[in-house]
């Protein structure tokens, strides 16, 4: 990690400066690990989506295979999501978080949070081949138009979500009616 490299570098320079820096950094780090209240809620929502969505059987290699929550791009949840999924299961599948920096890295994912604007083509790539049954989630404004499935919307300080049913059907994902009731159904 570049920050840590930086710390190592400073370490050589001055012990005093190092201590000050470590303090600043730890504040920064903690800021990074403890996400905003908004992302805490979104993390819980992502976690809960796993309970209300059914994937086709071939989405898992085995009955005990993990349900992978992928994060593409910058991770806004930090350690929070990691802690939240600890010990959680969805229909027998343990939850697992994977982080991806490139679209090309995305593989074997059941839920993918995309924290950057992606072109239509890139989304197609994500949902192709290995990741045929992925639930794509994003905050991006035109995410639904691009073929994404779930988009978080903040209304009156409350986090709601839009669901693109067509896209979900395309990916053979079944969304619980209970979840749909809470969602705004939109189509691209």
């Amino acid at each position: 990690m570049p920050v840590l490299k930086h710390i190592a570098y400073i370490q050589l320079k001055s012990k005093v400066k190092f201590i000050v820096f470590v303090f600043v950094c730890s504040v920064l780090l903690s800021a990074q690990i403890q996400p905003s209240r908004e992302y805490q809620i979104k993390a819980v929502f992502i976690l809960n989506f796993a309970q209300f969505i059914e994937w086709p059987a071939d989405a898992f290699s085995s009955a005990k295979a993990p349900l992978v929550i992928g994060i593409l791009g910058k991770d806004p949840f930090g350690q929070f999501l990691q802690d939240a999924i600890q010990g959680e299961k969805s229909k027998g599948h343990p939850l697992q978080v994977k982080r991806f920096s490139q679209v090309s890295e995305v593989k074997q994912c059941h839920i993918l949070f995309i924290n950057q604007t992606k072109s239509d083509q890139e989304l197609d790539v994500i949902t192709s081949s290995d990741n045929q049954h992925v639930l794509t989630i994003s905050d991006a404004t035109d995410f639904i138009q691009q073929g994404g499935i779930v988009r978080f919307v903040t209304e009156n300080n409350k986090i709601r979500f839009q669901i693109n049913l067509n896209a979900a059907r395309q990916n053979e994902i079944t969304i619980s009616s209970k979840l749909l009731r809470l969602a705004e159904i939109v189509n691209n």
């Binding site: 929502f45 809960n48 309970q51 209300f52 969805s90």
Partner: protein, 473 residues
């Protein structure tokens, strides 16, 4: 109580007890079932609401939660409901009343009866993920009201059933009571009118039928026995009448005979007496002393025989004479007799006391002979005493008056008392006390004819008491 009413009472009491017990059992089982059902229904409702509210809890949608809870409006008895999130904080509320309810802290899952409410908690799970808790409060009053309605319906059913039982028992008890009543009616006729010819009508072959048969047989037997007794009585009466007639005829013949004998004896006796006197008066000079004495003996004997015949005629007349009763005052009656008899006893010092004797209904002429007989006997047999004391009195006993004549005369040995009232029976020598021996026999005959009794009590040399009784009406 009438048998009809007893039967109905038995039937109605049995029906009532059975109905009451049955409905009580039903009521208890219904109450238990009802509570179980209420619990199960609330649990089901809780499960449905909990299942529906998972997404609302998972995605923090209070609007959705409120909407889901507001669906409870359809269940009128749910008065309060509350959703708690996984941390135990109130997430959404539902209430029917205006007062703000106090929601309890999360308790164990399950449902409990609390006063008039059924309350409980239901965990909210999505698959295995615990999302929160649902609290439900159900008002049981509305349901208890329903139970009361059931109770009222059951009571009405009992009343209607009892009414039915009453009507049915009224109709059906007749099959038992009717033959008994008929039997009782016949028995009443038999005992009241002494009519043994009636018969009870037999209904059915049961015990009452048996009783009827036995009753009828008894009546037949009584009837037969009655006929037998009646004919026997008639025969008996007939034979008694025949015997009485025979006896009367013989008696009459005998009396006619003795009367005619006595009567016929008097004529030759009168000749004997008359000629003896003529001999004594007209031919005394031709007779010597011994001849005169013999003539005297003939005259005396003829006189005595005459008296004897008179007494015998009296005696036999008494048997044929009809009794003519009249009410007399015995006090004055006896006083007259005593005065008359005392006429010839003036030389002697006699103390005679007559007590109260009362009023009685007798034949005066006959009773007079009894009194004359008894009093003159008392005077006669006390002749050898210095101080003569005669007492006459009476005592009233149930059904009779007893009269007595008591003297302190010669008396006699009671061993011979049984001979006293026979004709010609005498306990003293003629030379000692004169008499024919007919007087007491005659007295007895008179008292017998009055349906009374006569008896004597005596002690030799101390005195005699004669008693006789006259029936008092």
């Amino acid at each position: 109580m009438e048998i009809r009413k007893k039967l109905m009472m038995v039937i109605l009491l049995t029906c009532g007890a059975v109905l009451l017990l049955t409905s009580l059992t039903f009521a208890i089982s219904e109450f238990i079932t009802f509570r179980q059902t209420a619990k199960r229904q609330l649990a089901t409702l809780g499960e449905v609401i909990a299942a529906n509210s998972t997404a609302a809890l998972a995605f923090d949608s209070k609007e959705d939660a409120a909407e889901i809870l507001s669906a409870l409006k359809a269940e009128k008895h749910i008065v309060e409901a509350c959703l708690y999130d996984e941390n135990g904080n109130v997430f959404s509320l539902y209430q029917t009343g205006s007062a703000s309810p106090v929601f309890p802290a999360i308790g164990a899952e399950g449902y409990l009866f609390e006063d008039a409410h059924l309350v409980g908690f239901q965990k909210v799970f999505q698959d295995e993920k615990y999302l929160g808790m649902l609290y439900l409060k159900s008002d049981m009053n509305a349901m208890y009201d329903q139970l009361v309605v059931h109770g009222v319906i059951a009571s009405l059913a009992i009343i209607v059933s009892l009414l039915m039982a009453y009507l049915l028992s009224k109709k059906m008890q007749q099959s038992i009571s009717k033959p008994i009543l008929a039997l009782a009616e016949v028995a009443k006729i038999v005992s009241q009118q002494k009519d043994y010819s009636v018969r009870a009508t037999k209904v059915g072959q049961d015990e009452i039928g048996l009783l009827t048969d036995a009753f009828n047989q008894m009546l037949t037997q009584i009837q037969e026995q009655n006929i037998e007794i009646t004919s026997f009585n008639q025969k008996l009466e007939q034979s008694v009448q025949e015997r009485t007639n025979d006896l009367n005829r013989v008696n009459k013949e005998l009396e006619a005979f003795s009367y005619s004998v006595s009567h016929d004896l008097r004529a030759p006796l009168r000749s004997v007496n008359g000629y003896a006197q003529m001999l004594q008066e007209d031919h005394a000079d031709k007779l010597d002393k011994d001849g005169l004495r013999i003539t005297n003996v003939i005259i005396e004997s003829a006189k005595r025989m005459g008296k004897l015949i008179d007494d015998l005629l009296d005696f036999s007349r008494m048997g044929r004479q009809e009794i003519v009763k009249s009410t007399i005052n015995m006090d004055t009656f006896v006083k007259g007799v005593v005065d008359e008899l005392m006429e010839g006893e003036q030389e002697r010092h006699i103390n005679i006391v007559v007590h109260r004797l009362g009023v009685v209904s007798v034949d005066p002429n006959m009773i007079r002979q009894v009194w004359v007989n008894l009093i003159s006997n008392a005077l006669k047999y006390s002749r050898k005493k210095e101080n003569v004391y005669i007492e006459i009195g009476s005592t009233v006993q149930p059904g009779e008056i007893i009269y007595f004549v008591k003297d302190n005369g010669a008396g006699f040995n009671m061993d011979y008392a049984h001979k006293l009232f026979g004709v010609f029976q005498r306990l003293h020598k003629e030379s000692e006390f004169e008499g024919t021996g007919v007087g007491l026999a005659l007295s007895k005959r008179i008292i017998d004819r009055h349906r009374g009794r006569i008896w004597v009590d005596s002690k030799l040399n101390e005195g005699t008491t004669f008693f006789f009784s006259i029936p008092n009406q």
